[in-house]
Amino acid sequence: MRLTQTFIGTLAFIAVLLMPFKGTASDPHQEEGGGKFDPKELIDSHVWDSHEFHIADWSGHPITLALPVILWTDNGLTIFSSAEFHHDNSGTHVVEANGQEFVRYREHIFYADRFSQEKFQETSTMGRPFLYEDRPLDFSITKTVFSMILVSLILLLLFSVAARHYKKNKMAPKGVSGFLEPVIIFVRDEIAVPNIGSKYVKYMPFLLTTFFFIWVNNLVGLIPFFPFSGNVTGNIIFTLIMALIVFIITVFSGNKYYWKHILTPDVPKALYPIMIPIEIIGMFTKPFALMVRLFANITAGHIIILSLVGLIFIFETAAISPVSIVFVLFMSVLELLVAALQAYVFTLLAALFIGQAVEEHH
């Protein structure tokens, strides 16, 4: 009995894992392209950001949650719903708003009269164009921004429940706070205290926020159905901002020993022309490495899982699916570990850099 339940549970779990991909094989856009399955398109649509939230496909029609498009254009602020594009991503459907016309091409919004596909192909790197004069500034609530707001709300809810519990009773924690307390203690005793030292209290709010925000965002990115699945930590702009915050905190909490170490290191004077530039470059490469590490780890994990699922559609046979499912399951479990590990590594290295900046002379 128990075994049957476990078996059915596992089947249901696998079904849920594969749910968002089910529609892709019969996607109408790919039918137009000769019915050929394009794994790159599948991966791109799941990994990169988007102006609408794709939920499922129902008999060839995509069901999406339209998110607001907020643009800063030549005529000022322009807001309209992304549903007005009617799922068009090829730059053909023109939307008129605030006296201007817009088209969308591969999730980039252009002024309709200035858009040309050839120019896009020529100037883009990784499908990202640099045609700033042809595009309005895009402040839209995209899928990533939506997920980020969602995770913030989840964290706010969890921590306010825990805080209320601590306010009410002085007993050993239970429930939500019972789950959160060991993690908070872990961040304090394993990350903050050994790396920052006695001044750790000032940096605890930042380290805890970083750890939980990255961790929960990683986990939410692994859940493959609406309203989750936004790839927040696999977005290089997100990791850029996180790393920038670490950089700013490090620079502004640096004491005189930190600056002395950079500007007048303990080496012969003849080596200064080499050492000082290296130390200054080092200030920037550390947060840069933080940025790339988190982005590449999470993006790589998502791409591997999607590629393994894509194998079924590439070989166009169900015989490959057991292999695919076993590997996807394995990778998903590994990604659960990576989600926590990357949050830990990011927080640990942030604490390490801050620790170097506030360290007293020894």
């Binding site: 990784m126 394993e190 790339v292 790589a300 640990l348």
Partner: protein
């Protein structure tokens, strides 16, 4: 052609990172076997070193993705 070359480059980066992380993991195992009471400290140092090696490998992967 550049795509194939990029894939070869990514593979080479993976060899390097594999060797590096393998050595770190192996040495950490040795160290833990010798001094089990220092496990926590060794693990932290191991993860930091592994993260640094992995960071370099991921630079290569990102370059391969862009190419």
């Amino acid at each position: 052609m550049t795509g194939t070359l990029a894939a070869v480059g990514a593979g080479l980066a993976v060899i390097g990172a594999g060797l590096g992380i393998g050595r770190i993991g192996g040495s950490a195992m040795d160290a833990i076997a010798r001094q089990p009471e220092a496990t926590a400290k060794i693990q932290t140092a191991m993860i930091i070193a592994a993260a640094l090696v992995e960071g370099v490998a991921l630079f290569a992967v990102v370059v391969a993705l862009i190419a």
